[in-house]
Each structure stands twice: as C-alpha cells, then as structure tokens.
Symmetry: C2
Subunit: 430 residues, 2 copies
C-alpha cells in the first residue's frame, strides 16, 4: 500500500482508449486524482461497426470519435497522443513516444491484435480487420478487385478476383461475409452492368464445426442458414494453412484461387504486454488477479482483451466489449481503493447477452434469457449499436446511412482511396 | 476526316473524370458512339470543397462520388479504372495500366498538378492540396501538430508547431487560410484546454500584391480585410524560396519557424501531356485550336486545366471548373461533328462569375455584373456548391455537416488517420 503524502493528488495513467480504457477514465471523472489517458490514435474506435467500413457500408470517420471531444468536460483528465514503448514497474514509470511518464496507478487497456497463428505467408498476404486503416484497406482492395474484374477478359483470373474468402466463423467473420454478400449482390450489381453475379464467390472458412461459438448450437445453425441464403459458401472443419496472395491453401491440401483473404480467425493480446516482464497466458494475455491487478505489481491493473481471467465456473471470460467495459469500471474503482489503502473488490462479469448481425434484416441474439433470430434480432442489433455510438455526429450520420441503405439498397462509400494500378493486362476492345 | 465504315460504332475515349471529362461524357449520352471514360481513381472529386477536407470540415467521401454511380444509366459508356502511360497518335492508340486501347476520337481532360516552380526543397517538405489523399494528409498533419503542441513544454518548438503557413493568395490559399483560422479558434479551442490561442499563427504569403486576382481590386481588398479580421497574417510581395520542414525561407532571406507549409501557389498541367509529342505552352499546357483540337491531331481534343486557349481579347482562359465544364461539352459536340465529317465550332467561354469563401459567413462573389461580399456572398457560395454536388448522399450529408457546423461551431472530422509518433520529447509531468 502506498501512503499518500498530504496535498499530493495521485496520478492514474490509462493506456488505451478502447471500450475498457474509456470506461475506466469516465469512472474516474469525480475522483480526486489526476488522469492521463494515452493512445496512439486520437480517437476511440467503435469496433463493432468496423466490418461495415470494410464492406463500404459506413465512412471511417462515422465510427471514430475524437478522444478530446469525449472528455471535453472531464477536467481531471489529460489525453496524450503517444505510443507506449516500455515499462519500469520498479520506479512506476512508462516509456512513451512522448517521453517518460510517472504514475501512482496504471490501468492497461491495450487490447488485442490479429492472431495469425504463426502462418507467416497468411500474415504477409491476407487482409486483417482490427484498426480503422485495416478496414479502409479492405474496402479499397475489394472495390479494386471488382473494378479490375469487369475489365478482365480471362475467365479464371476474373473469377479469382471475384472470389472473396473470409477465414474465421466468429462474429467478425460472419458479419463480414454477410455484409460482403450484400455489397456484391445488392449494391455493386447496380453500378457494374458487366458484373456477372454467378462469377462471384464468397466463402467463409471455419476451422471448428460451427459458427459464433459464444451462441448456442441452435443460434449457430440459424446464422449458418442465414448466410447460406445470402449465397455465402460456409465450410466447417476447414483450417487455412497458407496464402500466397493468389491461392488460399487449406490444411487438406485443397487450393482456392482468390485475390482476397480476410483473416478473422483469431486474436492475441497486444505484444506490448511482453515488455511488462510478467508471465503471459495463451494468446499473450496477462493472467490477472480477480481484482484485475497484475501479480507482483499491485499498482498495475489490466483489463479487456489483453487479460486472462476465469469466471466462477473456471471458464475464460470472452474478449468482448461488454467484458472490457465492466472491467474498466471495476479497475478504476479498485485503483482508487488501492491508492486510498482500502479493500479491493474481485471482478464479477454480468453477461448482457450477445448480438451478431448477418446482414440486412438478419441477426442472431441471445439476451435476457431469450434466443432471437431474424428481423427482431436485427432490429435489436441496430438499436443497441446506434444507442452505444458515442457522439451526436456519429449517431445521426450512421442512422441516416442505415435508413438510406435500408430504403435504397444503396452502398455508401464506394471510394477506392488508394488504387494500385500496377496491374497491366489486355484491354478488352470495346 | 475519317470515313466511317457502315455498321461501325465510333469509339470516343475520354481521359479524366474531373469536371471537364464528366461533362464531355454526359454530353455524349445520346450519341451513337461508344464512350470509354478512364481515370486512375474510381470517383469524381468535387475539388471546390477539397480545402474543407484539409481543414476537417467535411469527410473525404462526402466530396468524392463513384463514377460508376454517376453513369449508372448511361448505357453507351464504360468506365475503366486505369492510368494512361503513353500515346500512339499515329495509330490512334493509348497505353494504359490496363493494356492498350484504340479510339476514333480522344478527349484529354487530364487536369493539373501542383506547380512548385522547381523549388525542390519545398516540393519535398511542403503539403500540397490537389487530390483527396493530399487533403487528408493535411488534416492529419495539422491535427497532429496541435496534439504534439499541447504536450510540448518548449515554447519555441510549441510555437513552430502552431505556426501554419499557406503559400499562395489565390482562391485555394484564401479559402484554406480562412478555414484554418476557424478550425483553430472556433473548433479546436473547445477540445484543447491547454491550447493558448495567442501561440497560434496562420500566415498567408502571396508573391504578388493582392489576393485572388480573378476578382476586382475592390473584392481583393474585401477578402484581405475579412482574413485579417479572422487573425490571418496576410503578407504581399512575399515569395517563398525554400522550406526544410522546420523553417520557411522567404526570398528576402527572412525565416519563419513553422512545421506546416501548405503550398497553394501555383499549378501546372498534368505531366502526362509531355508524352503527347506536341509543343507545350507555359505551365506545360497544350495550346489547342479554338475548336479544342490538338494541332496536327484533329481527332484529339484537350480541355480544362491542361489547355492553353486565349479568349477574343487575347487573354488566357483561367484554370477553373466552369471553363473545364463548358469545354467538355464543346469538345464532345466537336468530336461528334469530326467523326461525322461535319463542321466544328470554335469554343466561346461564357463567364458565370466567381465565388470564393473566406470562412463562416464570409465570401466574395462577382457574378451577374454584381460584386458581393460578406454574408450574402457566403450564402450564395453555399447554395451554389450544395446544388452542384453530385449525388443524393453528398448533398444531404454536406448540408447536415454545414448546418451543424453553423449551429454548433463544431468541427467534424478531427481524426488523425495516420499518426506519426516517432517524435520523442520530454513529457510534461502532470
């Protein structure tokens, strides 16, 4: 326990402005502490809608909200645009791109990154979907494949450009595959008269035997049949072993010619945690005490995707926004108790349920003890996500986008912001 | 004259989907020709609002509209995402990133690029404002300078980060300087409690002795006083001679410490024209015949910023959107006449007047024989630009942005989409 010197305001540093870091910072709003929030981006990213940026549904800035604006009224907080490069726990100091920084308590909300499971070729050639830049890169890539396909006379090459493989049947993979199908079949067909829908393939490859395992097998089956109705080819027990940018190689040895592989098959904790000097669990996560403290460093708390913690039944808590948010609040309160020398509370997760969308009018939901699918689940998904969106601008704009999408089946952001035109080929003589 | 073979539909190729190329393509909608429109981007950029993207006023996709959507109903047109790399006028062929392409008539609407007047250091270190990527890069850079300034303890370095120099007193320079001042003083001050407005400098440097020379001296003076009221330091007869990324060197030898130089001091025709094999005029422009034909190549027409053409008084036509649009229509009609063996019309420019904005509530306008300034001119500017914006989405979204900006003084897109955090410095201990 620290003994606070009189007249010294304790300094709490929070690393990461994702769902967990944001909640922790907000929970400290009325505390007599000084809070520094660090992130290498100046915005909070609303990750549940990232797949919509990737599939041209919404604009990148519609799901990114400046941290300064979120904390405009929180006078005890300073935001710093900086990247953390290392730790000195013995002296309670952080190394950052903006210099060293001392703290009395530290809350690590550093999140996760894509896990390629050491498949180097996949890592090199596949597209990932974690940051805003990734989503924009996927959008640019997909739209460019379509542009190049319509001017491609060679059938095999044209089909390869129009084959979109998504690896991973979790929420992100399912949402992305569903939205991709709608982008192709409902949006782009209007603008590309020469696009033959029968030449387009969207594959969702899952290594295990069902989709979105956080749901019951019944809802997994619903998600599966909804995707199949959308024309997505879903294959189970189909792990990917390599990808050279033109052919996806499956573990079975089968090859699929495809110019697009979106990797949504796993995540691991931020590699920054390796510099903490504590042993890490599976996926590079820190195993924290029930109080969310890092063992041996009672003044360091860790939350969210970066953390390994079991519930009362010994199951690992899932890497989901609600977990991160509840942990953010809990860590903030425990950090204050710690600084005041009071007792710390163990974290207990209250599951608010799960929601995943499969596209226009289709979602699966398990909440309040109910299992929902179809339009009702979709409507719930829309309502929950619009309400959760931070800030006037985003809420209104996303709502307008969605209403317009819904009414006009009209994709929004069909802009290739970074075309790569080094791809000479025969020009179809008109 | 070509003698058309019976049953052969002539092929007109248009290079460039800017204002001129778009108008030319639209003017051919009902003609019995096949039209191929080429551009290296898949969108039409509404350039008059580019400075608003650079100053975080609107989102990049709000001023970019997919070419496929614009021509959804024009059945005689195909769009190709491709970059032109060379010409073979003798055989009426184009070389592109998507292979070779033959034509019966060619309309070059290749536009202009930034002119650095061979100031290599300026070209290397200054920001330009021509493409969508440029505008986004300026926004990212400016917002990052502010982020880094508020955590910078050294006064001189902090001031350098908060000194924004705009070179060039044409419409783009004036609009950018005015909007920058509003971004700093009306928008960012709300989110950055530690930002001292007295440390912010915005300079507009003009090599000649007045602003926006397409206007009368009276309106130039109005623009000048409006900028001064916004706190912009306007300096005349002040050419820039170099910029190393930290100090702007003036021709007088004076140096200004600034981490931002936005170069809006000139443009030159697209370098692609150098491959045409015809002699070029000042700024690399093709001197065309009054019929917009390229001398020695009657089947090649050139329009817009890439063209040098004098009016009946021997004055060079300005490089402005209305000129490009009127020439696009004229070139389309002349190309059809040429292919049909009919007579070609000389191009006559009808000046619709000029408009330039200096920020919220302030603009200068000269049209219908009137000279307007202040709110009336600004209102006209807003009305004209919203009406001109192509497409439902852009119009509605930009209007919402503007109404919200107007009501709440609230900047929209304060997202640094590509932060560069390699800038270690002492961290202010809170």
């Amino acid at each position: 326990m620290v003994s606070l010197k009189p007249n010294t305001i304790p300094h709490i540093v929070i690393v990461g402005s994702g769902f967990g870091g944001l909640k922790a910072a907000q929970a400290l709003a009325k505390a007599a502490v000084h809070v520094t929030l660090l992130d290498r981006h100046n915005y909070h990213l609303f990750q549940p809608l990232l797949y919509q940026v990737a599939t041209a549904g919404v604009s990148p800035d519609e799901i990114a909200y400046p941290v300064h604006a979120i904390f405009r009224r929180q006078k005890n907080l300073e935001f710093r645009l900086a990247e953390v490069s290392g730790f000195d726990p013995a002296n309670r100091r952080l190394f950052t791109s903006a210099g060293e920084l001392g703290y009395d308590a530290l809350i690590l909300a550093v999140g996760s990154t894509t896990n390629f499971f050491e498949l180097d070729e996949v890592e090199k050639n596949a597209l990932k979907l974690k940051h805003l830049e990734d989503a924009e890169a996927i959008r640019n890539h997909i739209l460019q494949q379509v542009e190049l396909a319509v001017q491609e006379p060679d059938l095999a090459l044209r089909r390869a450009r129009l084959t979109f493989v998504v690896a991973g049947g979790g929420p992100t993979g399912v949402e992305t595959a569903g939205a991709l199908s709608e982008l192709m079949r409902l949006v782009l067909h209007k603008d590309y008269a020469h696009l033959d829908p029968t030449e387009i393939r969207i594959l969702l490859l899952e290594a295990a035997d069902r989709l979105i395992p956080v749901f019951s097998p019944r809802l997994s089956a619903k998600a599966f049949s909804a995707l199949v109705k959308k024309g997505v080819e879903v294959r189970f027990n189909t792990p990917v072993s390599s990808y050279d940018g033109t052919r996806v190689t499956l573990k079975s040895g089968e090859m699929i010619a495809a110019r697009t592989l979106i990797w949504a098959a796993g995540m691991r904790a931020s590699p920054l945690l390796q510099r903490l000097g504590t042993p890490l669990e599976a996926q590079g996560r820190v195993k924290v005490l029930p109080t969310l403290q890092v063992p041996e460093h009672p003044e360091i708390f860790a939350i969210g995707d970066a953390v390994y913690l079991e519930d009362s039944q010994g199951r690992s808590l899932p890497q989901l926004a609600p977990v991160a948010m509840q942990q953010g609040e809990a860590a903030a309160h425990n950090a204050l108790s710690y600084l005041a020398g009071g007792p710390l509370q163990p974290f207990v997760y209250k599951d608010p349920g799960n929601l995943a969308t499969i596209g226009r009018n289709q979602a699966v939901a398990s909440l309040w003890g109910l299992e929902l699918s179809g339009f009702v689940a979709w409507f719930l998904w829309v309502a929950v996500h619009i309400l959760r969106l931070i800030g006037f601008r985003s809420r209104i704009l996303v709502m307008i986008e969605w209403i317009r999408d819904y009414l006009f089946y009209n994709g929004a952001v069909l802009i290739i912001s970074n075309p790569v035109l080094d791809n000479p080929g025969p020009f179809k003589k008109p």
